[in-house]
Symmetry: C2
Subunit: 317 residues, 2 copies
DNA sequence: AAGATTGCTGTTACCGCTAACAAGATTTAC
DNA sequence: GTAAATCTTGTTAGCGGTAACAGCAATCTT
């Protein structure tokens, strides 16, 4: 593998100049830079990450904590992870994935954390390295998330546009900021349109949503659309409705939230608010690397736009 | 952060002796080792991975290639990845996740590859670092996989034990070793029991399996059990049957393969051959690290035992 | 008892890179 | 025209480890 020294010889400069051409190009004459870069290309130079890490007292490693139960959230995080990992790789960072914070062996340059619960705040606030959370939070910690409010706004507006008389929100029964945001988005659009909001909440399990439909079927009038806070709930709602009436696509509507795997498994496929998981991953990584580099941390909250993905669980037109 | 030098001072030896106490303890007097280890404990010593990597001409990075379409396989690989990552972290290795082999920037000490297709053999054989595949293959490359044959044997035996008259195999229409193994397991048990094997194959999409049931329903006698080569197909078979007859649990049976997410989404939950994904991940990592350390590579093929997970898609007793 | 062997520890040099400083050349200031 | 400022490049040292070798005492050979 070519080293700085090798490049230096070919370009007839010292290795320090080569190093500078890479890290502080403004300090090197253009003429030299040209020959240095062509030498680098010729020798297929790849910086030695370990050497760089050693001299900078860094590790070039980022830890990604998944604090939620991985069995339940499996499909959700894979794309996020890919987004994170590919962005990091571009900047010669690699990843350690942790599902249990006590296993915290070895050093890193920063943390990306998802699935944080209230009791995690204690140890997270004590971390001495830059941290980025995936998911809104009430602790004034930097985070990246989907614009949850906008997501349910889009969903609710779409339901109204399709002419559903009654638009009901099926929420997740947790006291988390993301849930409040989703409910808010729904409520806002309902109020803008002088409609009465109607919200029901369940733990995030499809069978609870399904049971709800079956238990209250007599009171569920046709031409109702359910805006759900997750695809999991939407999946249950849809199953319940199909059990009671096969005419879902025309008489009823179901809109989910997430757009990760489950929406495609459903038949018909769910109309859903799709989170840009890959881009969210990239954004987490980008924000974290910036915090590491700048060593100065104004609070940053980044919200990415979701996309309404039309499936067969709502009527067309 | 404490360094070897710090330990050395406290233990009144040279840093070389400390290094030896860690890496070649047989060359150091017990007496010194005791004081060195207690100094290490006292100062909470953690080796500097970058320094070690630099001097050993290693990177302490492993690349994990997912060559299949991540959208489709999302839930499947998450647990595998966790298994890999946590094992690697224990030995101070970190991970780079690649979903596109052309993005191959930066060095590593070895590769774990999954979803390899025939056309990938070309570049994989040219890799100069140790490689472990996840998944059986015909190329004499080291691999780790579930014991696929045993999996369908278990499933087929269970179906016969439950008294199903007719046991049909629904395969994936690909010419891959894992599929042959799964079909073989089924065929073997059928022959042991003097039954005629019956195999149908489809691309791995649930709706194809569902369509098959609907199209051939008149020829599908009650008391039939379907052994499927994936949960995806099993999911489709189940949906098809439910559409035709609500009595699946007593008249029909469906057994899937994978046990990753989809089996739990189905209603009733699928009986399935569960792959030990976490352990498979650990095994991939363990095998690869061993190959890196030993620098000598006898072909190794490691098969882990699957587990039959009983759900509601087969009858009890 | 002298030389050879063994067992254990220390010294040196180096892995590839970069910050800090040194130093020469050129431009600017007055 | 000379001193100071600026621009550009090179030299040195060191990040935290480890291999290779040197050195010395204790033990073994014959």
């Amino acid at each position: 593998m070519a080293t700085l020294e090798d490049i230096a010889k070919v370009a007839h400069v010292s290795k320090m100049t080569v190093s500078r051409a890479i890290n502080h190009p403004e300090l090197v004459r253009d003429e030299l830079k040209t020959s240095i870069f062509s030498a680098m290309h010729e020798l297929n130079y790849r910086p030695n990450v370990a050497a760089k890490a050693l001299v900078n007292n860094k590790t070039q490693v980022i830890k990604f904590f998944v604090l939620e139960d991985i069995d339940i959230t499996e499909p959700y995080y894979m794309k996020l992870l890919v987004g994170i990992a590919e962005y990091l790789a571009k900047y010669q960072y690699s990843l350690q994935l942790m599902t249990d914070q006590h296993l915290d062996i070895g050093a890193s340059d920063g943390y990306i954390i998802t699935g944080m619960r209230d009791e995690d705040y204690d140890w997270i606030k004590r971390l001495e390295l830059p941290v980025v959370l995936f998911g809104e939070n009430r602790w004034r910690l930097d985070f990246v998330d989907t614009n949850n409010e906008m997501g349910t706004q889009m969903a609710t507006r779409y339901a109204l546009e399709q002419g559903y008389d009654r638009v009901v929100f099926i929420g997740i029964d947790v006291k988390e900021p993301f849930e409040y945001s989703r409910e808010n988005g729904y409520i806002q659009v309902m109020q803008e349109n002088q409609r009465m909001p109607e919200i029901h909440r369940f733990a995030n399990h499809s069978h609870l949503a399904m049971d709800f439909i079956e238990a209250t079927w007599s009171r569920i009038t046709p031409n109702t659309c359910f805006i759900c806070a997750s695809d999991r709930l939407a999946f249950g709602i849809q199953k319940g409705i199909l059990q009671m009436s096969p005419e879902i696509a025309t008489d009823y509507g179901v809109i989910g939230f997430d757009g990760v795997f489950l929406d495609q498994v459903a038949t018909p496929q769910l109309t859903t608010v799709e989170q840009p998981m890959y881009e969210l991953g990239e954004a987490c990584a980008e924000l974290l690397l910036r915090k590491i580099k700048d060593n100065y941390y104004p609070l940053e909250e980044r919200l990415l736009q979701p996309k309404l993905k039309i499936g067969g669980s709502t009527r067309k037109k």
